[in-house]
């Protein structure tokens, strides 16, 4: 008897909680602070920096030098000049080195912003992502290295390790799961993957910063009890290749806003 009463009460309390969270999410959509990062990013693209005193305006993000519109949704991709598959952030590092004369270390020095400490890299990612808003996610898979990156990324997705035996798949391998009250996209399911890939980068309210997909992976691995994923590492690029292809066909809505 007590159980029969308890269950509907719990179900309703859960629904109220979920509804309030949805309402909070809707209220957040207006006035996304990512605009502040995008505005700075647009400026950084044109700003002369480094020993070569050059801007990034000749940077090739995959659609030919200087073309930013639509570039994000066709990344990661193979680049002949570096003979590698690259995502946006690793490509920006390449351009900062080749065009501006920065060292690789300097280009990667502050990948993520923090309180009172903006990051040129984050601002650029926010702006370049915004230039693909509304477009179809379409990472190329025509080059053998692009196909290998996807498959290697998939292997890494299932790689269990660390004291908790966690893999990405532990949380992101099944439909309709959540961790505490945070819904988890099943990244092996196209619809969930499209929405997930289409909403990063995002302004994370709890962080007060725009966070990129490289950051998302770094923070996932931290919570998986792995050591630190290196910024623009091969594993990061392979995983992003996997996630982009899984999200293929979805509409890119980033930079979004999240809790």
């Amino acid at each position: 008897m007590a159980l029969a009463i308890a269950l509907p009460c719990l179900a309703r309390a859960q629904q109220d909680t979920q509804k309030e969270i949805e309402r909070y999410r809707e209220l957040l959509q207006d006035g996304n602070p990512s605009e502040l990062f995008e505005a700075r990013g647009a400026e950084h693209w044109k700003t002369k920096r480094g020993p070569k005193n050059a801007s990034l305006e000749r940077c090739d993000l995959g659609l030919s030098a200087g073309v930013v519109k639509g570039a994000y949704v066709q990344l990661p991709r193979y680049f002949a000049d570096t003979d590698k598959v690259q995502d946006l952030e690793s490509r920006l590092v390449s351009c900062m080195v080749a065009l501006q004369g920065l060292s690789s270390e300097e280009a990667k020095r502050r990948p993520y912003s923090g309180p009172g400490q903006p990051s040129v890299m984050t601002d650029l990612v926010a702006w370049i992502a915004s230039e693909s808003r509304g477009m179809r996610i379409a990472p190329p898979q025509s080059h053998p290295k692009e196909r290998l990156a996807y498959r290697a990324g998939e292997k890494i997705f299932y790689y269990r390790a660390g004291p908790h035996d966690f893999a990405c798949a532990t949380c992101h391998g099944e439909d309709n799961k959540r961790i505490r009250l945070q819904d988890l996209p099943n990244l092996t399911n196209a619809r969930d993957a499209q929405r997930a890939f289409g909403t990063w980068p995002a302004y994370r309210v709890s962080q007060g910063e725009v966070r990129s997909m490289q950051w998302r992976l770094y923070d996932c691995f931290r919570q998986q009890r792995f050591p630190e994923l290196e910024f623009t590492s091969d594993a990061a690029i392979a995983l992003i290749s996997f996630l982009a292809k899984q999200g293929e066909g979805g509409t890119f809505e980033a930079p979004a806003i999240k809790r």
Partner: protein, 105 residues
């Protein structure tokens, strides 16, 4: 100096609908940094929006307002092409003023 405010102002019915996104850390003064020291309070205390010489919004804020504040309000009497001036002053004496033109109709 802080980043520019991002302002949108357009006519909706008989009112002007204004959206302002401000760039500010809004540090409460209660957080501690990695070393354990208090991060000093740094937040917007006053916001003023004027139109045609009249104040259409006046706000007194405190540490409860979160980082990168967004304010959304409506007022009567504005016409397309007219200017709005938005100003803020924070507890450390920093300030910022930006202008926007009312659009649409």
């Amino acid at each position: 100096m802080a980043d520019a405010m991002r302002i949108r102002a357009n006519i909706v019915g008989d009112k002007v609908e204004v959206r302002v996104l401000m760039s500010h850390e809004m540090e409460t003064g209660q957080r501690r940094d990695a070393r354990g020291d208090i991060v000093p309070a740094h937040f917007i205390q006053n916001v003023t929006v004027t139109h045609a010489g009249k104040t259409v919004l006046s706000a007194q804020w405190g540490p409860a307002i979160s980082k990168n504040p967004f304010v959304h309000f409506r007022f009567k009497g504005g016409k397309p092409g007219e200017k709005l001036t938005i100003s803020w002053v924070d507890n450390q004496g920093d300030k910022r003023t930006d202008e926007a033109t009312i659009s649409g109709g």
